[in-house]
């Protein structure tokens, strides 16, 4: 993306405290064409600073305060780092499988929430439907079965988390070197009772997403779409693995940029750029530089990078998915929703398989080793690759923390999606309701967790500004938390 023209005066106003704090600025060139669009993240979180000084065993619990919707991902990523700090390279079978079960529960509930309650209003009612209908209550009235399925899928995932982490939100189950509980027989049987219903609903959700994408492919193929690199973890045999593996990055054709890279050395492969107009950083693949090295993460990227999925129904779905692009990587932004539902089904299959594994009732929960002073924990969170990097001193205190969260990895892609939408739908010098809707839809495809406050129930609070080449404000629209546009 080109740097801002020095002649363009860009004033970043303090964001009106609409919840979510997403702000988009669209810059026009001298001819009045869209030159650039910027998605500003204006909240300063500070986690990387204030965890310093804390004992390392607190970190898997503390970092969950980053988010009330995706805390498990941070819990597990930090725990993976702390395993290494505690000198443990490999967990006991019970500990690893408990963590995996926790993780798949998280994937299930997060993907269900996003699909059924955040994006389904757009898909079911259309991007330009009346905002008073295009929301979760509207879905519940017109498609009650779907709304209930979304709730029950999420509830099931949350109960899995509670059984494995101790609490639905901000649990404590993963500790340095292992876990602090196993899954009792009673808990196992509780989940086995409903898993086949969960599978049925997951298949239904996948069909809905697939049919929607294929029925509207002609329009969706270009919507906010562009060619990109993709990054994710993959298992040693090339399978999708959402919990552990090596890093693989591919370009838009599928050519491997790096493969099975040890994420302990992630800084040799990934760098972060800071830009003055946003608190969110811009990661890029070091070998390609900041202009060409940005990449996508999350469901779309994971389906593109893996060689196969090791659960049969999700694998069949993956093949159907890639058939749309003749087996090559899928760069269609709106295909994120279809990919997300393939992962929902995969998570359900994994949960079913794990519930039949007697290792979950094992008694060996924790190991110890020789202390280390630096470690990285990586896993595939629902939204994408999540990096947690820590240093710990001899007094057991954290002295450094660097987090690259999933949404940060997708920072540049979201900016480009908004820019593409602005180019395609901006007419004249006014921000229309239609443009506002489409900007939201493009951002929402990435399921971002912008400071963990923009997880909109069908409506994303957003400020969109249109500025000319002198930076003069031409138009401004703000959608508030009640959906009202001003």
């Amino acid at each position: 993306m080109a740097q801002l023209d020095k002649r363009t005066k860009l004033v970043i106003e303090p964001v009106t405290r609409v919840e979510g704090h997403g702000k988009v600025t669209i810059l026009l060139d001298e001819q009045g064409r869209v030159k650039q669009a910027c998605l500003h993240i204006v909240e300063f979180r500070g986690f990387e600073r204030f965890v310093q000084g804390r004992p390392y065993w607190e970190l898997p619990v503390l970092v969950q305060r980053l988010c009330g919707i995706c805390p498990v991902s941070h819990h597990l990523a930090a725990a993976k780092a702390m395993d290494l700090i505690a000198g443990v390279d490999k967990l006991t079978p019970t500990a690893e499988k408990m963590r995996r079960l926790m993780h798949y529960g998280q994937i299930l509930q997060s993907h269900a929430l996003h699909f059924f309650h955040l994006c389904s209003p757009d898909l079911l009612f259309g991007f330009d439907a009346d905002p008073t209908v295009r929301n979760i209550i509207g879905v519940a009235k017109r498609f009650p079965d779907l709304a209930v399925q979304g709730v029950m899928l999420r509830k099931y995932g949350q109960e899995i988390i509670k059984a494995t982490a101790g609490k639905k939100i901000h649990g404590t189950g993963a500790i340095p070197g292992g876990v602090n509980k196993n899954l009792s027989v009673a808990e196992r049987d509780f989940f086995l009772k409903d898993i086949e219903q969960i599978m049925i609903w997951a298949r239904g959700a996948l069909k809905l997403a697939k049919d929607y994408t294929l029925d509207h492919l002609k329009d969706l193929a270009d919507f906010g779409s562009f060619e990109s690199n993709h990054l994710s973890l993959i298992r040693a045999d090339g399978a999708m693995d959402l919990y552990h593996g090596g890093m693989r990055a591919i370009d838009h054709t599928g050519r491997k940029i790096f493969d099975h890279a040890d994420y302990q050395n992630y800084s040799e492969y990934i760098r972060e750029e800071v830009r003055p107009w946003s608190y969110m950083k811009f990661p890029f693949i070091r070998a390609l530089g900041p202009e060409k090295g940005w990449y996508r993460v999350g469901p779309l990227a994971r389906l593109n990078t893996c060689d196969f999925i090791d659960t049969p129904e999700a694998e069949a779905a993956r093949k159907e998915f890639l058939a749309v692009t003749d087996g090559k990587p899928n760069n269609i932004t709106m295909a994120y929703h279809w990919a997300r539902m393939i992962e929902l089904l995969h998570a359900a299959e994994k949960i079913r398989d794990l519930l039949h594994d007697p290792d979950l009732q094992g008694e060996d929960l924790v190991l110890k080793g020789t202390r280390r002073f630096e470690a990285v924990g990586l896993l595939e969170a629902p939204r994408g690759t999540l990096f947690h990097h820590y240093r710990v001193n001899e007094d057991d205190q954290a002295t450094m923390c660097n987090l690259i969260v999933s949404t940060t990895n997708n920072n540049m892609p979201m900016n480009l999606a908004v820019e593409k939408v602005a180019r395609d739908y901006l007419s004249g010098r006014q921000i229309t309701e239609g443009l506002l809707n489409r900007v939201e839809v493009a951002i929402r495809a990435y399921d971002p967790c912008l400071s963990c406050a923009t997880h909109a129930l069908g409506r994303m609070p957003l400020v969109v500004e249109l500025r000319n080449c002198q930076g003069i404000l031409l138009d401004r629209k703000a959608r508030n938390c009640d959906g009202h546009v001003e």
Binding site: G20, L113, I169, A453, H455, G458, C481, G483
Partner: protein, 161 residues
């Protein structure tokens, strides 16, 4: 500190072990709470408040006719609306807002004033639950719905004097 009033109340009620009462403490209200609400006849949403007159405010909740946007801040009224819309629930709901004072400091204990307000809230709930049970018993086999007192209480030192 006093943002722990909700979990503290839940802990106290859990210790009472009253039959037919389910106590659940969580970080925030979420969509799936609509399913839990629908499974009960009466639900009380309790939390700390920065502004109600001490010691607490107890009032009925009506289902919302619109939703605030964020899955991070689902209001009790929205949860109730979703429970009714999705599960055809007939649940009656109330909020119990307990006045707190210190929300900036980190600490595991409540302030002394918040602790007193908590005691008052626990005492009130014991009476209220007992009253519900008594009315239900007198009315025999009528539905629990009829037995629920519909009352809005705002207890404050002025009211008590």
């Amino acid at each position: 500190m006093d943002d722990g009033l909700g979990p503290a109340l839940a802990e106290r009620l859990g210790q009472l072990g009253v039959p037919g009462i389910t106590v659940d403490a969580d970080y925030q209200l979420t969509i799936e709470d609509a399913a839990s609400v629908a499974a009960h006849d009466v639900v009380i949403f309790a939390d700390a408040s920065v502004s109600v007159p001490p010691p607490f405010e107890f009032k009925a909740v009506e289902p919302a006719d619109h939703l605030s946007f964020s899955s991070h801040s689902l209001e009790p009224a929205a949860v109730l609306a979703l429970a009714r819309q999705m599960f055809d629930a007939k649940t009656k709901a109330f909020t119990l807002a307990i006045r707190g004072y210190e929300f900036e400091q980190f600490g595991e204990n409540l302030t002394a004033a918040a602790e007193r307000n908590l005691e008052a809230a626990v005492a009130f709930l014991k009476l209220w639950i007992s009253a519900c049970a008594t009315v239900a018993s007198i009315r025999g086999n009528q539905e629990q719905e009829d037995a629920t007192p519909t009352v809005t209480l705002k207890l404050s030192p002025e009211n008590l004097n």
